[in-house]
């Protein structure tokens, strides 16, 4: 078994830890997971590195079931005695718990299909000096546009394994890298952000150029009145719309409890026909993740197809309650949060951002949302500010930067008013999404910058 240049303990070693943990459990059913890895982050502001950190950590999580009583314990050591204590704690909690009548069983083992590559050695090996060099490159590009750069460049690797007394044994290792920056040019701000499993896929110069140009172009913004505007939303904004739907409604638990906008709406039209959203943990354009916290392989789940609500994601608990199969979306943990979709895709269209701008008589080009929050989950109403580059579009052209605005809008209403869908997809957070042009987006306030 390859140990990826000594960075990883490897599948055999982690399997051993898990088997030993299962062997000491006195519960009827037991599930143990272990994660171990290293992550590093270089943070910069005012074009200097001001924070630079590294962490080596592990996590062990044990779910023990006695009858229908469930106990959950976590620790951060894989040392034999400590793991045993974590198992014993979970069993002790299960002993003292009350029955959870909705619990049926932990999931049965299922073969996990071969996933696209998730571990990239050059990412695991990236040094503090390498990170500093990239930041230096970015800062120089900022300076050319008269901007100062803030942001962070992070890389990390982790191996993760899940086993259960029902015979599940799943293992994967992965790397991740993330470069994000906000640049300031006097009164102008610009943002750019990229994520990838492979650090070679992070285009440092492109990120720097994108943010620097935005910052330079957004100097001396004018104030405009709030109201309804046609908006061109970058993938940074669109990811927030899709994530909002995932947080509030794409989980089977939220539907079962009646707090999801999908509850009672499956099979019905909930937004525009040009909107299709699905979750796929095996698509290399997104967050590849072959199995969930219970060791169940990820299924592709069609959430909204041509504007019609189709289905939601399940973990074993919510699936067994409905006599269904888990879709592989357990978040693990103590059980309160339910399943979660975080490898989502919004189907691309055929427009470019330039075409969206050219087709807009009067509207706004919005780079990014800030501090969004739910106002009414069933009505999918949320609020937030624009940030780091907001521009007025007049007669098909970007004419002036504008001061930031507050929006208060229903996500599903916005997704019913999509006029154009971008053809390029970008991985941002929990979703891989295109840019969108949305008619009549509702802005309810303004700020001073």
């Amino acid at each position: 078994m390859s140990d990826k240049n000594g960075k990883l303990l490897g599948q055999d070693r982690l399997s051993e830890v898990l088997k030993r943990a299962l062997s000491v459990s006195k519960a009827d059913q037991t599930q143990v997971s272990v994660g171990i890895g290293q992550s590093s982050l270089t943070r910069f502001a005012g074009s200097v590195i001001h924070q630079n950190v590294s962490e080596r950590n592990a996590g062990v999580a044990v779910r023990a079931i006695i009858g229908k009583k469930i106990g959950f314990a976590t620790g951060n050591s894989i040392e034999e005695g400590e793991v045993r204590r974590t198992v014993e704690k979970a069993v002790e909690l299960a002993t003292h718990a009350e029955d959870n009548p909705d619990f049926v069983s932990l999931p049965e083992p299922k073969p996990i299909p071969l996933a696209p590559q998730t571990f990239f050695e050059r990412t695991a090996e990236l040094s503090p000096e390498d990170r500093a060099l990239s930041v230096e490159k970015l800062v120089k590009i900022a300076a050319k546009e008269g901007a100062e750069a803030a942001g962070s460049f992070s890389v990390g690797y982790q191996e993760h394994a899940v086993a259960s007394s029902l015979g599940i044994m799943a293992y994967n290792s992965r790397t991740r890298s993330h470069l994000t920056t906000v640049m300031t040019a006097d009164t102008g701000f610009g943002y750019a952000n990229r994520l990838a499993a492979d650090v070679a896929k992070i285009p440092v110069e492109e990120v720097a150029q994108e943010a620097a140009e935005r910052a330079a172009k957004s100097r001396n913004p004018i104030s405009i009145e709030p109201g309804e505007y046609d908006v061109v939303l970058t993938p940074y904004c669109v990811e927030e719309l899709v994530s909002f739907l995932s947080w509030t409604g794409f989980s089977a638990l939220a539907v079962q409890e009646g707090r999801s906008f999908m509850a009672g709406k499956l099979g019905q039209k909930v937004c525009g026909e040009n909107i299709t959203i699905w979750d796929d943990g095996f698509d290399p354009r997104g967050n590849v993740d072959p199995f969930d916290a219970e060791g169940v392989p990820k299924q592709r789940v069609d959430l909204i197809v041509n504007g019609v609500a189709k289905t939601v994601v399940y973990d074993s608990f919510t699936a067994k309650k409905e006599g269904k199969e888990s879709t592989g979306h357990s978040t693990g943990g103590s059980g309160t949060h339910g399943p979660f979709a975080w490898n989502m895709f919004l189907a691309p269209g055929n427009a470019t951002v330039d075409e969206m701008i050219a087709s807009t008589e009067r509207g706004l080009l919005v780079t990014r949302f800030n501090y969004t929050n739910i106002i009414h989950p069933l009505l999918t109403v949320f609020t937030g500010m624009t940030r780091d580059g907001t521009f007025l579009i007049e007669r098909g052209k970007v004419t002036k930067p504008v001061k930031n605005l507050r929006f208060t809008e229903s996500v599903l209403e916005a997704l019913s008013n999509v006029e154009m869908v971008g053809k390029e997809l970008s991985l941002q957070g929990a979703a891989t999404v295109p840019a969108l042009k949305v008619k009549n987006f509702r802005f309810t306030g303004v700020t001073e910058f």
Partner: protein, 489 residues
Amino acid sequence: MKEFTERVLQKARDLGATYADVRIVRGASESISIKNGKVDALASSTDYGFGVRVIADGAWGFASSFTVTNEEGERVAAEAVRIAEASARLKKQDVKLAPVDPAEGRFESEWKIDPFEVPLEEKIGLLLDADKVMRQRPEIKIAESSMESWRTDETFASTDGSYIEQAKIESGGGIAATAIEGGEMQRRSYPQLGGDHAARGYEYVERWDLPGHAEQTAKEAAELLKAPQCPSDVRDLVLEGSMLALQVHESCGHPIELDRVFGTEASYAGTSFLTTDKLGRFRYGSDKVNIVADATIPGGLGTFAYDDEGVPAQRVDIVKEGIFSGYLSSRETAAKIGWPRSGGAMRADGWNRIPLIRMTNINLLPGDWTFDEIIKDTKNGIYAAMVTSWSIDDKRLNFQFGTEIAWEIENGSLGRMFRNPTYTGITYEFWRSCDAISGRGGEWHLWGVPNCGKGEPGQGAHVGHGVAPSRFRNVRIGVMESPSGESEG
């Protein structure tokens, strides 16, 4: 442990660090949550490790590990120095720190009943009692009750000669009832959203009498289903305590963090409108408004003996009779602004994070009104309680909050209930409109906020806000009079 810290600090010195500190943190937590009569989560967590922070070549480095051994200690110290040297590639000047007196000692927070010693059956039983009462109302589709306990043991040692041990126990809990019917969903929480927590023992859970408040909580959630939508208007606004605590948190607590002011959080949470030219001059609020950052008040989630740079806890004036007067600061930012000492607000979320400037207990000092007097004195307003949604711009000026519930105030008395209340404003305009602060009737309470987020990689902090219900004149309320889909409900 002293042998370990000495070795780590010596290794850092040997490799050229001009400053180093090491923190060893052991954390334990327990959480119990009950949903609709079932034990939804019964979880216990432990966490142990150490982190080494150094200045080498005039720049910062930090490394941490979950393996607390002498060998790993020296490896991690060396990694921290290497990282600092990489940071130095991009520096404009060397990091300078305001001086601190070396300190030694052991400190413990105050608690009467250790929550980890209370039998699980008793804790579960208390929550099940509250749960049962909430579910007697048929409209309540989700009844939730929960409690959390944390214990943290931390050792801090630095090349300045400090060796400080601190132990803290924190406890709290709460309930929430969610009513769902015909496309409408309304929630009420008690004593606030997510419960209330303090640096106290299990006695703090008991003091709230969760079962005794379950009926009223459920009743209000059910009644909200039928209540009219909060009108869109400009009216006088009276804020309940926990809502006001969040208002202080977002519009005062964050913008006074001196690292934000200097731009070091620009890429993530943002910066601040309270720039240094405003210090001592800017009218932040009306002359009724007095705000302090107090790390010394007993029982607060933001209370400690020493911060994570070994600086003693302090009480700092933030707003004095409406004038902006102070910041939350660190040794580095104090040196940068030219102060002789740090204000002692540096805290880290565990062993694997660097300390950042965090809120301590940001308290709005009590006023000379009673709550009843404020209501009696208000002709046309609303009384809004308990946060449900919060959003503010990245300089902390334009905010919008949603609350769980509001009541109309007409000619000095509380009237009908409104659902989906929201209010919005600009921070200093809002605080300048504050004309009545209660407290004379014993309304002042130190609320706990255990989920304040900041930094990259992300850190959570436990902070406190002491407030009493207060009145704000002419506030824009009801931002969406009829949110889309309202007619379907």
